[in-house]
């Protein structure tokens, strides 16, 4: 068996440390040789019940159990200033430069609710098909932690802005949204002197992030598989980007996922013990982390043990989860209405205006593409993935180009160009007019597909009309039969050896001749016609 990373997994209360190797197949196997390499004392603070002696496979676990997954997502709203003060929300500023007495919670300061936050949050809640609470309020969530300047977080408790919503995944399944509420972010702590919190000698706090507006989107536990968890996250990000609420950049932390996962025996109603997963910073890792947890919890359950309720951190390096903290008792946040912020009163017409101003959402787009434009589900998903691409697609189709042709161009050459340069379509000069022209020029055989592929980068960089490029550079397709015939004759003559071979039965050489003709014309020869003529001329023996 190939061995992957060295991974330390700790046993439950007895706290005897056993080393394991983790393979790239996520199977955990006991390794007897590595014992002396470990330093149990150093890691003594960690304890959990994640030390299965023989690990089961995922299939094994899923035979008996099903996963119940709920996801909490924090999305940073794309406002210019923070939730309660005028500090900028820009990412990457020097530590503690985007701060003021208000977001540092200095004595005597009062929070001033940014109206843009309510606007954007309502927009998000509407997009998630939530019931909007017209009368809502902010609450205080009290807990002591140094990254929370006031030692309470202004959030929403019993009257969230939106509840009972749902989103439709590309697969067609609906995932219900439990609630959507506004809150403020906390600061960032940098532990110094050790790689983890425990053992560090001192801690730096950066309050730039403190007070940045967030919405928390809590799903119902409707998600049943790791891939669906990732799909949910992606769809949520798509929606948020569509409606301009957030750029949902997981690396910059403008979108953060916490996954709650428990296993329950198939056929049973009662939910199992919930484990919360944090620190997952890509959708790819969402499914990996959930996979790992299903195996870990399943192995425990199949051994007759029970997972404990805890918060676990996803470790990207070891591709596994580790205990972060164990919740002994439910913490009491002592919520009460925030007395410094008057209740928020939304009017129905405001909500309606937001609803009217909303872009068509990805789910609707996908449905329309499949039903009206006849795209395959796969193509529809790809095109609807990004709003700018979808807009280009629709505009081009509106100019009378066959949808399937547009999809092919977008999904192959255009996406390749964009991905290579890591840019968005809006950063190029390509517009629907040019794209439609390009495709129609291929259709009426003015240019060949190969030439078109060469023209595309020019279009995207410079943006002038396709016709002018074609004329300027003399790229029209060679469709004149006589001219082409002459050209082919010339080519054939210069390769007498190959002609002989062809005649003796090596018909595969046809492609060689066509290639040579193409080469000599700079790709302008009409490929179908060339093929036909070469065949004719070779068999007719000139």
């Amino acid at each position: 068996m190939r061995i992957g990373f060295l991974q330390v997994v700790f046993t439950s209360p007895c706290c005897k440390v056993i080393p394991y190797y983790v393979t790239n197949k996520q199977r955990i196997v006991l390794c007897r040789q590595a014992k002396e390499k470990l330093y149990p004392r150093k890691h003594k603070y960690l304890h959990c019940s994640c030390a299965p002696s023989t690990t089961r496979t995922k299939e094994d676990v899923l035979k008996h159990y099903e996963a119940v997954i709920g996801i909490e997502v924090h999305v940073q709203l794309a406002t210019k200033s923070k939730t309660f003060c005028a500090c900028p929300t820009s990412f990457g500023a020097k530590p503690n430069t985007n701060v003021c007495p208000i977001c540092l919670g200095f004595p005597g300061t009062l929070p001033l609710l940014n109206q843009e936050v309510v606007q954007l949050a309502t927009r998000a809640a509407v997009a998630l098909n939530c019931e909007i609470a017209l009368k809502t309020k902010m609450d205080r969530k009290n807990y002591f932690y140094p990254d929370t300047p006031k030692n309470y977080q202004i959030s929403q408790n019993d009257r969230p802005l939106g509840k009972k919503g749902y989103i439709t995944l590309p697969s067609g399944r609906n995932i219900r949204i439990h609630r959507v509420h506004m809150e403020e972010d906390s600061g960032k702590m940098l532990h110094q002197g050790a790689s983890s919190l425990t053992g560090s000698t001192h801690t730096f706090i950066d309050y730039n992030r403190a007070g940045i507006p967030l919405i928390e989107i809590v799903s119902e536990p409707d998600i049943t598989s790791p891939s669906e968890a990732a799909e949910y996250g992606e769809e949520l990000r798509r929606i948020m980007r569509y409606i301009g609420v957030s750029d949902c950049n997981m690396e910059e932390g403008t979108m953060r996922l916490d996954v709650n996962i428990s296993l329950r025996r198939r056929g049973e109603k009662q939910l199992g013990t919930k484990v919360e997963l944090k620190n997952i910073n890509s959708f790819h890792f969402v499914s990996r982390a959930v996979d790992f947890e299903i195996i870990r919890q399943g192995t425990l359950l199949l051994q007759g043990q029970k997972p404990i309720q805890e918060t676990r951190l996803w470790n990207e390096k070891s591709q596994s989860t580790m205990t972060m903290r164990v919740k002994e008792v439910a913490s009491d946040y002592r919520y009460f209405p925030e007395p410094d912020i008057p209740p928020i009163q939304l009017e129905q017409h405001q909500v309606d205006a937001i609803r009217r101003s909303m872009e068509e959402l990805p789910a609707e787009k996908r449905k329309r593409y499949v039903e009206e434009l006849g795209l395959s589900l796969y193509d529809a998903n790809n095109i609807a993935n990004e709003l700018s691409i979808a807009k280009l697609f629709e505009a081009t189709v509106r100019r009378g180009v066959a949808p399937k042709l547009v999809v092919n161009w977008i999904m192959s050459d255009i996406m390749k160009y964009l991905n290579q340069r890591r840019i968005d379509i809006s950063e190029t000069k390509l517009n629907s007019e040019n794209l439609a022209e390009l495709i129609s020029l291929i259709e009426n055989k003015t240019i060949s597909g190969r030439i078109a592929k060469d023209i595309l980068p020019i279009l995207m960089e410079k943006g002038s009309s396709v016709k002018s490029i074609v004329e300027e550079r003399g790229l029209q397709q060679l469709t004149d039969k006589d001219k082409l015939e002459q050209l082919i004759k010339d080519t054939i003559v210069s390769y007498p050896k190959e002609v002989e071979m062809y005649k003796s039965g090596k018909t595969k050489l046809l492609g060689f001749f066509v290639g040579q003709v193409m080469k000599s014309t700079g790709g302008k020869a009409d490929p179908v016609l060339t093929n036909q003529l070469v065949k004719e001329l070779l068999s007719n023996g000139l």
């Binding site: 919670g105 200095f106 004595p107 005597g108 009290n142 300047p149 309470y152 002592r334 007395p339 410094d340």
Partner: protein, 556 residues
Amino acid sequence: MFWRSSCAFFSCPTCRPTWRRNWKRPKRTTRTRILSQHTVHISTVIKRQLADVDNSSVLAIAENFKRGEWKAVDIVMEYLQRIHEMDKVLSAFLSVDAERALYKAQLLDEKWDKGEHLGPLAAVPVAIKDNLCTKGMVTTAGSKMLETFVPAYDATSVARLEAAGAIILGKTNMDEFGMGSSTELSGFHPSKNPWDPSRVCGGSSGGSAGAVSSGMAPFALGSDTGGSIRQPASFCGISGLKPTYGRVSRFGLIAFSSSLDTVGPMACSVAELATIFQILAGRDPMDPTSWSEAAPYSDILHRKGALDLKDVKLGVVDIFSSSLEENQVNDVMRCFLDSIRVFTKLNAQVVSISLPYLEEALAAYYVIAPSEASSNLARFDGVRFGSRQEASHISELYQKSRGLGMGAEVKRRMITGTFALSSGYYDAYYRKALRVRQCIIGQFEDLFRQVDVILCPTTPCAAFELGERMGGDPVKMYREDVLTIPPSLAGLPALSIPMGFDANQLPLGLQLIGNRQGEDLLFRVGHAFQMATDWHRQRPPIYRQYVQSSVTKSSS
């Protein structure tokens, strides 16, 4: 920055007493040299003129300054000297920034010389309660926790006063974070009542009340959560206004209970309060709970017929049924009945009403206020500002910093509040208290359909002795607020004005409760009362002694 230890006035250029041990003598700048030369020739005329009660009112000072009779520096010097002389006994101030005050005064004098525009409070010295943030001056809220805290911003109320030309003398003592009714619970030292230094001056704005009453400042800013302006005003024989909640910006007020806190003025007479209130009131973009309507306060006191109260219906609270303490009832009742008689003479209609939920209001207050305080005071953890103890772990830092920085009463209320908000108790305490609050608001709404202003004594008794209510049952101290809490819970404006003296020559206060945003009517009724009486013109013995000794000294 000048931090007082035993004497509030160690930076006075005329006398340089013992400096605080580890305090560095400031560099002698040109400014201080000019000032110290100037003060040699301090005007004895001003001293004598200011000794007169009428001349030392806010309005008179501003007027005399604007007319060019008095120099701002001289006015400030006189008040600094009063603080120097009297605060030794009264301990009303926590810090006095003489240099800053004199500098501001000098600027005003220069402004006057140039003929520039002067604000309505030009050259009027003011004492600020220490829970109102003052830019560049230590603001402690009476707590050791904030012993070294220097805010980088002014409270809106302070900024408005300074913009109107007022000169800040210093910061006055208070119960720690406003939690107390005697100023004995200050984290630093208790303040004493000018009428009898063996007694308390009330609280929590006790320092402000003492400073105004003894003439150490013509007026002061206080804050009122459950009676913290009115009760000390009553104990010290001055007038104090708790405005409608939201009428004066709370920005810069170190929060005790956000839904109850108000900032208000304290002065000798209602006419002065009206002038100051005009400057303080109004919408503040920094306080989202401030009223969006502007304060359309017209100069109601000088309107024709303002002193005739024939169109005003007064509701007199039937205090016989409420639980006042037996031995004090006689004096309070006598004065109360006397003042009602004054109002009848002023042609006001008087009807008897009752406040049935007094006990419930007290209980609700002592659930709501500590609950909010437990959350508001969580930010004092030693991480970002304030005093910080050495610790090896974050929870140790919290425990040590908060444990050593905060007093017993603050801890008691925070524990009470934390308990009341805990899950499982929230409904039984906090939610129930909010329901009581709604009841009280409804009750006042009913009452104000029948009457225009409600009258009752401010406190059930006169100032008590220092230490009398310390230790033992804290509820005894809480009961002090039984008559001031209902309007606080309802967010209504209330005025406390002197209404006489008890057998020990201690002042007693009369509380006038107005309808929402009804400050102007309160001023009119209060002013009419003061025009008909002279209780507000009485000065405590310590002031009379000072005037006598200093005037004779300066003339000899």
